[in-house]
Point group: C2
Chain length 401, copies 2
């Protein structure tokens, strides 16, 4: 029966098998023990509530605007007034000079990234990203028959520059950066990003072709300890930003995000024009309309990052006190923890005995680690830590340590 579905669907299902197993295990464990007795650290659904402004903005739009102004097709790029508000907001924060014509409202960042891949890459082209990485990037590349090339990172999950340079070739069309990073929580430093930009500029000259830097930054506003999250269009001429309100306003289900396409891009006019067609023909058509209007009014609103920070601290301190090794994340809401046994899938399995659902690092291009999503209730962290402790002791005893 397997030939009822396309080869691409089969390959992408295979690619996502790790993530799917994680989800189905979580469901099975929850059914068996009840949600309150399962410590599910496997999902990336924000746990902080959307700011109250969002609700007020939606209701106000509904009560004051004509329905046709809220629910009609918005044009492929999105509402001009919302795009202008987004451009102005970026300009205020990053001293840029964007207009509405540098913005495409998208069906989340995932919609924006797929749009960019479709517009910029031909079959056989390559996109480089840094592992560990959000595993669906591979599928986005497969959608356009392009190849995702992985570059390693160091012990702090910062890109390895020599390896990066060696992996760029004449087929490299996109370098995809995700900082703050899922799954590691690393924030790439300005120094590293400038060196990445230098290498790319050199390679552009060498091959006589633009290499676009696409910055997937849904976690931009979830960063801690005052760490800087550098704005890539200010560092590199051919940089595109893909952002979303999924995490910054806790609206992942609403599928609302945007692309920033600076006028400095080589081929800006063609690329922006292609977005008009491809956003439609890929089936997105336009970013959902009412929520476009709402987020356009809430660009300065924020979720409570302090809640995530409290979780981060409790989990980081709790785990390292037990003995686990882990980099203290500077952004996003994930800890990427070294597993005390080499096989992270085995560790994942054994953690279920303590009703802990984790994310095996292998499913994120980071074997030997597990991803722990701390976008959860604080109390769950407190209740889960003794399980982490027992698991640690059990393994250390086996290892004779």
């Amino acid at each position: 029966m397997t030939d009822m579905i396309s080869k691409k669907a089969m390959a992408e299902i295979e690619e996502g098998r790790g993530i799917s197993r994680m989800f189905s295990d979580a469901v099975a464990l929850t059914e068996k023990f009840g949600a309150e007795n399962v410590y599910n650290f496997s999902i990336g659904n924000p746990s902080e509530e959307p700011p109250e402004e969002v609700k007020r903005a939606i209701i106000d739009e509904l009560q004051t605007q004509k329905p046709m102004a809220l629910h009609s097709y918005t044009g492929s790029y999105g509402y001009a007034d919302v795009r202008k508000a987004v451009a102005d907001h970026e300009n205020r924060l990053f001293q840029t000079a964007f207009t509405a014509d540098n913005v495409v409202m998208t069906v989340g960042a995932a919609g924006g990234l797929n749009l960019m891949f479709q517009v910029l890459m031909n079959p056989g082209d390559q996109v480089i990203t840094f592992a560990p990485y959000f595993s669906e990037y591979k599928c986005y590349a497969m959608n356009v028959d392009a190849e995702l090339v992985l570059c390693g990172t160091d012990e702090n999950f910062q890109p390895r520059l020599a390896e990066f340079e060696s992996k760029i070739n004449e087929k490299t069309r996109i370098v995809l950066i995700n900082s703050p990073n899922n799954p590691t929580g690393a924030v790439y430093s300005r120094d590293i990003l400038k060196k990445i930009a230098d290498i790319m500029e050199r390679k552009e000259r060498e091959y006589g072709l633009p290499i676009y830097l696409v910055s997937d930054e849904p976690y931009r506003y979830i960063a801690y300890d005052g760490v800087e999250v550098p704005y890539l269009p200010n560092i590199y001429k051919n940089a595109v930003v893909a952002n979303s309100f999924s995490k910054s306003l806790s609206l992942p289900g609403e599928r609302i995000g945007f692309l920033i396409l600076p006028s400095s891009l080589d081929g800006y006019r063609e690329i922006y024009g292609a977005c008009n067609t491809m956003n439609r023909t890929l089936g997105f058509v336009n970013a959902p309309s009412l929520i476009q209007k709402a987020v356009g009014r809430c660009l300065d609103a924020e979720v409570d990052v302090k809640g995530y920070e409290k979780n981060r601290n409790a989990l980081y301190e709790g785990l390292t006190r037990i003995g686990y090794q882990c980099m203290k994340p500077q952004g996003a809401f994930y800890l990427f923890v070294k597993t005390p046994i080499a096989d992270d899938w085995e560790f994942y399995e054994r953690a279920q005995k303590y009703r802990l659902i984790l994310g095996p690092g292998s499913a994120f291009g980071g074997p030997g680690y597990v991803r722990i999503s701390y976008c959860v209730e604080y109390d769950m962290i407190v209740k889960a830590l003794p399980g982490f402790q027992k698991l640690w002791e059990e393994i250390r005893t086996e290892q004779g340590k």
Copy 2:
């Protein structure tokens, strides 16, 4: 500079050039003469307001539900309760026995169609549709490197069966039906649809492979004179329904629709499973969440079809009285009118003298016709008819008639 964008993007832009020209001409004419003096019959944005229930449902959800229940990821398939409500609604109307597991909530019908194309077709496969047709189908096929094969229709825009049969071959994976039809307003009769199903069943046996019938039916509930719009899963085992609330509830900007995947489909389990992965990896992730909840509560609501009917009658009677030839449409909100000169692009150009923006039939696989969208204010029709009259007389005089 054209090699900055992908070959596919270039090809799809080329494919949509006709539609784009129509839009840009409308903008230019409007800027020149003012919106109130331009008769824009080129767009398919519903003109009847969404039913009041939609607004009430959105506000009620926001005021009574926890934000996390409204704005989190819904899972790829959509909310289980909404899918159940959609299944129940179809069951009531069509005496089917669907469950939530026969439903995928999608980013509009365009999102659903792209999902089906990606799941069911390999490069080189073929999808057959009947011309005239909604021209973006060609791009959806191009997205998966499949070929859109056109089959002709008769003078009432009903499919030509012998031609249809001759065009099916071992590469045919999908037959795509759009009834009520954009751009003709034709509704395919039960008799014709049964014959199409018979042919497809015969061909399935001949080739030993399923051929899926995909029914794109956003206009299902916009039909006149009591005409029957047959439900394809009741006629053919391998039928999939792609629907949306864009027209039935006048919510095209909200990007909300659904797929019905009957359990009778060959490979149902694989296909439904593939939707879970592909809806995510294509970048849709899930249908927008809040509006899912809202439409789930408004399945019995309706826009005022009488408004469209009044427009249809006024325009049909007005145009045929002048002398234009046109089939009286049975559904959707389009008239497909024979042009008194052979070249429909020339007719389109000349109509602009009377500030009429029409849709050249060539852009919809129907040369020698223009599409007139009557989802407009009734008054605009009344004011526009004298222009149609003058254009007719001008052309007839030239032709010496």
